[in-house]
Amino acid sequence: MTTSLLEVRNLRVEFPTRHGNLLALDDISFEIAPGEILGVVGESGAGKSLTGAAIIGLLDPPGRIAAGEILLEGRRIDNLPYEQMRLIRGRQIGAIFQDPLTSLNPLYTVGRQLIETITTHLPLNQTQARKRAIELLEQTGIPAAAARIDQFPHQFSGGMRQRVVIALALAGNPKLIVADEPTTALDVSIQAQIIALLKSICKEQGAAVMLITHDMGVIAETCDRVAVLYAGRVAEIGPVHSVIHRPAHPYTVGLMGAIPALDQEVERLLQIDGAMPRLNSIPSGCAFNPRCSQAFDRCRSERPELTSAGGTTAACWLHANQPGQEP
């Protein structure tokens, strides 16, 4: 087994409410190798943001990790006390969130926020930290970085702000970046710039990325592997090319068919009837079975495990009976 950078094993995240325990993530497992870009894709309610939050250790209470392990370079991080996790956050794991407007503190200059992050995690003094901050800003493509470092977030445009956020995430030289919908709030043309930046700078620094998004196009452009989440479970995971062009799980097939493509025209988009089940009414067996055109009895009673299915790994009984089942 190759040494993976991040390993998530059987993660369960629960929300205790007065209507009962809501299981938001149910037995999620995946790995990220050093320097790899893993996409986590799913529709609203699938649990992809929660996965990111659980990894960074920023689950909103009353949500909590009920079971499972998260290992960073072989060491468990899900059960660390707050102080230790704080040191890991920023130094080993960087985070990029969706809204650049709220990710930066509007009352402090960009330079101050950068320098604060750098000095917290790296043994540099103020002058060295400032130099590194300017370097980071230049690397993320902000023109006249030496002058703009002393400006406030509101003086930057949306795309520029997101670049600053990327610089902040990379300030501590982390090995893993968790990016939660980093381009969703941006215009299409800016989106393309930011994706390209993310890709190049992470390859340069050797950082692995967990890219959470609902946009399959972004995944296609950036990621090496992709995990498809449905109702808090992993439906399919595999190399990006295989998942997109030869999806094994019926949900992934439906998802691909529902996306209008730029280069081809269909009369009617493939439509998956119904909607993702709410957390308090997840069907027994395979969570997708009520909407699946190929469901049979076993699907309704037994939950499928992830098994190998052609080029990818899918949690589907259709593929469980193939020879060479072990993932």
């Binding site: 043309s189 946009d215 909607a275």
Partner: protein, 333 residues
Amino acid sequence: MSEILVEVKDLAKVFDVSAPWLNRVVERKSRQFVHAVDGISFTIERGKTLALVGESGCGKSTVARLLVGLYEPTRGTVSFEGADIAQTLKAGASQTLRRRMQMIFQDPYASLNPRWKVLDIVAEPLREHGLFPDPLQLKARVDELLRSVGMSAVDCDKFPHQFSGGQRQRISIARALATEPEFLVCDEPTSALDVSVQAQVLNIMKDLQRARGLTYLFISHNLAVVRHVADQVGVMYLGRLVELADKAELFTNPRHPYTRMLLDAIPDIHMSGRARTPVQGEVPNPLEPPGGCSFHPRCPQALPRCTTERPQMREFKGVRVACHAIEPQAIEQ
């Protein structure tokens, strides 16, 4: 069926975003205006769909609201079946016009009154125009509308918060269709929806258009969705129309540099390995648009002329483009 249903001529809308009078006097600031829509002209044929695309700040949402009369134009006219809608709305004959054109909004969570039952929401246009005074007939009509968008009659007594985003958008569509309008303005109706739900809603909209001969103005920032639904596509930038063409022509042979840039910027899900030109810059501040052609700071083909002279829309072989760099060549590519 090439009757023109909607015609827009030199439409413009200017918003006054100046600071309050006292602030202006004390701080000696001048008045500030945003030219959200700056001289747009197009036509929509009956039964067809015109899509307007562009990024944030391009004014497409403002155009949508101008077309249904939510805003009054600063300049120019919007005509429905040849009659200026601004006049019609002022003259008090607005009810007939309002029955014939309706709007679907972007945010499924804000477009339905959270305190009203679905029955009241969908029945509101019917009640407002005095159709179906008998409550039983009214309920029957609402049931029929809900069924036509794939929902059921039992949904009448529920409240919006009991439904998902896609279902709410369908309720919005049912409400918009209540008075049997001919023209629907759709302001990013699927942008807030998941991909699979978007597919459902787009299919429903296409089915309804075929069945009832509806005319759509479809606003979106997503070119792939536009490719799926539109007959004609208009590309907007900072309040101006830069290109207007039939769909097939626009996607295979984009003329304006901005259109090309937009198409290039879209992430390629099928990874057909297109060659991409790198994208430069960002949309400028609408309060201080560049002079001449507003795209010139980002344009790879900018000429000196572009900084001073605003390009006019010219027609080349059925495609309308506003660009200086293109005019000399007759686009025989």
